[in-house]
């Protein structure tokens, strides 16, 4: 500025101060995760009122195993959405990889090999999605709608609508293996949440994923390997899906092409309920973690209260829409 002050015809230099930042308490309190937590509490209370049979931790934990596989995939989906993409095919990937597992097993492969096959397939399917998105630069939303149909279709071609079963006892029933009163799948979910939470929160990759989601072009200009990271995310999504598929196979002791049908809706619902921003750049594992339990509470609460499935579908749909509206509103506030 000195160069100007010493200037005879010095213009009035306006110092454009930055706009005042939002107060701390707002930053902390007005976050989607808080809303999710609130909903969680409310849901729990309502559910307890609805049915005397609900308030039983053992029961809730047991019921949670029916949604936890989706919740685990939803954790990865959260990261995918934060990066500005979306993957609607995980449910179908679960089905296909599970059917591959079953077929391999029936073909005489030992369980570990069959599991290997299934995991490999998840890897391939994820890479396939990633190829269309990062190499052909096609919008992930429509690509994964295509692959969602394709993968499920292939599962059908592979397994017909036979249900493949007869897996050895040690493989079956992962959801009945307890640590204390906590079923193993739930532990897996909690562990995955912590790991991915850390990944997103304190590693440079997590940081760069937020940056990509906020502005992909800026990220490219900042030298962030956008395509590589996105490819990685889709592969991760595929792998996680196949793991989830195997968990279902173990829980049911059998697999069929229609396994996890409609799961994509549940997963997106969880992520949205968790307050992840559909346009990318914002969101958190914590939110998704809370949302998963919110979903468990709502679904279980309604089922144990014998509330007709009609109402359940309606409420799920409403929830999804309301949750995006709320999230958007909150982010709009903080948007400057």
């Amino acid at each position: 500025m000195t160069s100007i002050d010493k200037n005879p015809v010095a213009p009035r230099v306006i110092v454009r101060e930055a706009a005042a930042p939002r107060p701390r308490w707002q930053v902390w309190l007005i976050r989607p995760e808080v809303v999710t937590l609130l909903l969680l509490v409310i849901a729990a209370i309502v559910a307890t009122r609805l049915s005397p049979f609900f308030a039983d931790l053992g029961f809730i934990l047991e019921s949670s195993t029916y949604y936890i596989e989706f919740a685990i995939v939803a954790l990865v989906l959260t990261i995918v959405i934060i990066s500005g993409e979306i993957d609607l095919s995980p449910a179908a990937q679960m089905a296909l990889s599970a059917c591959l597992f079953g077929t391999a097993f029936k073909a005489g492969a030992p369980i570990p090999v069959a599991m290997g096959v299934s995991l490999l397939s998840g890897l391939v399917m994820g890479a396939f999605n990633g190829f269309f998105v990062t190499v052909l630069r096609l919008p992930s939303i429509i690509v994964t709608i295509g692959t969602l149909i394709l993968y499920r279709g292939l599962a059908q071609v592979l397994a017909g609508d036979k249900s493949i079963s007869g897996f050895p006892g040690w493989f079956v029933g992962i959801d009945y293996r307890m640590v204390g009163i906590v079923p193993v799948p739930v532990l897996v979910f909690i562990a995955a949440s912590i790991l991915l939470g850390l990944f997103l929160g304190i590693t440079i990759y997590g940081r760069q994923i937020y940056q990509i989601g906020t502005s992909e072009i800026a990220a490219i200009h900042a030298g962030i390997r956008v395509r590589r990271i996105k490819m990685g995310l889709f592969i991760a999504s595929g792998l996680t899906s196949s793991i989830a598929g195997l968990m279902v196979a173990s829980r049911l002791g059998s697999v069929r092409y229609d396994l996890a049908t409609g799961g994509e809706l549940t997963m997106v619902l969880i992520v949205m309920l968790g307050g992840t921003y559909i346009f990318g750049g914002r969101g958190s594992i914590l939110g998704t973690f809370l949302a998963a339990w919110l979903l468990v509470i709502i679904a279980t609460g309604m089922t144990v209260a014998n509330i007709a499935i009609n109402a359940q579908l309606t409420i799920m749909g409403l929830l999804l829409i309301v949750s995006i509206i709320a999230t958007n509103a909150i982010y709009a506030r903080s948007q400057r």
């Binding site: 630069r137 919008p139 346009f279 509206i325």
Partner: protein
């Protein structure tokens, strides 16, 4: 109109070639496929998809997408069916009105939520997909509309007409023609293309994006409703748990094959019609070739992806995620 012709000729030619090739190949493998009988079957199979595809096409052209049409179809079919069942005294068109209007209403809600809250249509309609299905279960009390509750005249629309082409076929192609007129010769029609072509510029050009977008979703809903009646006519009954489930994917497949760009602004009625015919032929060809029905979905999925790649190569416009649609 010559403009339109020029704008899209390349694409339609491509789809036509695909269609011809497909028919040729199938006919080589199974000569019986190449027959008037098959043509009749195809013509009977397409109206359902064609009508809904016209709506979906407009939605895509406006840079949105409507995943809820399957549930809307089911809802309208049930609504109309309940009128037929509970008030057989009322004339046929009342049921039609109920079906189409209920569809329009649900579509309107989609449009409203998408535009007012500036949300991506893909997620909104994913939500209403489930929401509307729930509502239709509630509305129907989970009770199916049985064949003998569907009025004879309606059933007959799927069978004959004065000129011996079933009414539903005539209606479907009539709708297609009307859509073509609307998109080609009406100001709003052109504005739909404009919005899809450059959503940012549209308001600067004095285009009322919100009402036009809502209109598009409403039309899509109304046409899905009409499809619901075609469903009732063709299959003779409506089941809350079955009718329209997964329908959205078939339609999107047809439209995308038809060369309608997922990036908005591009898409023609002719192309969509060809796309629908191609998909219809596939549907009919599978059983005639004796291919297991289990292949159908895999093939649909494959076709969508191929169509996408073609779209990508045909136009090198920077593809942006549909997520950006409707949003911001």
């Amino acid at each position: 109109m010559s403009e339109i012709a020029r704008l899209f000729r390349a694409r339609e030619a491509g789809i036509l070639v695909m269609l011809v090739l497909f028919v040729a190949v199938v006919s080589l493998i199974q000569p019986r496929f190449f027959s008037t009988e098959t043509l009749r079957i195809v013509l009977l199979a397409v109206p359902l998809i064609l009508v809904a595809a016209m709506g979906q096409m407009m939605v895509l052209v406006a840079r949105h997408v409507d995943l809820s049409i399957g549930s809307i179809l089911g809802f309208s079919a049930i609504a109309a069916g309940m009128v037929f069942r509970d008030h057989p005294e009322l004339p046929l068109f009342v049921g039609f009105a109920v079906g189409v209007l209920s569809g329009a209403a649900l579509g309107f809600v989609n449009g409203l939520v998408v535009t007012v809250f500036k949300l991506p249509s893909i997620i909104v309609t994913l939500g209403t997909l489930s929401l509307y299905r729930g509502l239709l279960f509630i509305l129907s009390g989970s009770k199916q509309i049985d064949p003998n509750d569907i009025p004879e005249p309606l059933i007959r629309m799927a069978q004959t007409s004065p000129i011996d082409i079933p009414w539903i076929v005539i209606i479907a192609f009539g709708v297609a023609f009307a859509t073509w007129l609307f998109l080609t010769y009406s100001q709003i029609g052109r504005q739909i293309y404009a919005i899809g072509s450059n959503p940012v510029a549209a308001p600067l050009r004095g285009i009322r994006v919100m009402p036009v977008t809502i209109l598009v979703f409403t039309l899509s809903g109304a046409l899905a409703g009409l499809a619901g009646l075609i469903y009732a006519a063709r299959f003779g009954y409506v089941n809350p748990g079955i009718t329209g489930v997964g329908f959205e994917f078939t339609v999107i497949a047809a439209v995308v094959i038809g060369g309608v760009s997922i990036n908005g602004g591009v898409g023609s009625v002719l192309g969509t019609v060809l796309g629908v015919l191609l998909l219809g032929s596939v549907q009919v060809a599978l059983p005639i070739l004796g291919v297991s029905g289990f292949w159908q979905n895999a093939i649909y999925g494959g076709i969508i992806l191929i169509a996408l790649v073609i779209d990508r190569t045909v136009r090198q416009g920077g593809l942006r995620g549909l997520l950006a649609r409707g949003g911001a």
